[in-house]
Symmetry: C2
Subunit: 194 residues, 2 copies
Amino acid sequence: MTAIDFWLSLGSPPSYLASARIDEIAARHGRELRWRPFDIRAMLEREGIRPNVTYPRKGPYARRDWERTARLRGTPFRVPDPFPRPSAPAMVTFYAIENDAGPDAAKAFARDVMAAYFVDNAPIDEPATLARFAAKVGVRAVDEAAGKAALEAATAEADGSGVWGAPFVIVDGEPFWGEDRLDQVDLWLERGGW
Amino acid sequence: MTAIDFWLSLGSPPSYLASARIDEIAARHGRELRWRPFDIRAMLEREGIRPNVTYPRKGPYARRDWERTARLRGTPFRVPDPFPRPSAPAMVTFYAIENDAGPDAAKAFARDVMAAYFVDNAPIDEPATLARFAAKVGVRAVDEAAGKAALEAATAEADGSGVWGAPFVIVDGEPFWGEDRLDQVDLWLERGGW
């Protein structure tokens, strides 16, 4: 069986909410899981979908839904202010860390960055913030060029896999979009599809 | 406690999928439920959201998601062809029936129309189809003017209540959008919020 791909944007609240559940789901079914940050902007532009918070009614609803879902799951969360901030720099750093120190270090960095952004309102687009969290997982010289190339390759792979939103989970070729479809991901793994 | 409002579009697959579960959820918590068809077109235009199937990637994904969710729940379903058809005529007839024969007759009509559309590919925008299903619940003279006025009033009420998508469930003022949030509706009723 191939690994489960967890496509996420480090700046996306539903990606953050999903990140709090997805490892446990994969582990329970004995499956390998790969965290794959990608740059969603070009895909959304091509689709003609704007960031959630820019819609006059869907925007306020989305905030309420994220907060309600976070409370339900006991996941610390608040909508950052300002929101959104650019998340590409954090994802460049993620891949630089993955290249240098491996996927576990990169995942730990991603968790730290998202917690800083979605709990403590940290400026995750600022180099000093990213350097601090990279150092925390042992990477003191971030190779930005390598990280940028890896982010571009990951984004192209996501695009080629039919990904168009975040989070997006692909299990044995079956696509699931959204934090609110993780229950189906769990069932799909349990039953091997239906 | 006030009734739960189930805002739906009779032409919307996720509304149909939700309609297969929502009565049982409300009944289990001893709550009254009102089926409230409304015309979603003006709201979506104002939001800048197009019908799901018109998006290049979200569209095919949505079809797959509807089919997968229907299989999971054992709800008979196929995407109509052509899709979408205008659903306003069916909703006008719904309210004409509600005025004439009460909410139970109108709900039975709605179930019949959606099953015909989403299982048997019936042309639910044709007067003969609607007249046949109206007659089935005992209404042989459909007052279209009254039905149209009631649909407009319901749509205005939905708009005033913050509704912007379908299905949309409001429980004691708390809004839930989407078939995939019915589990939260169920929990909200069980716990009285969180």
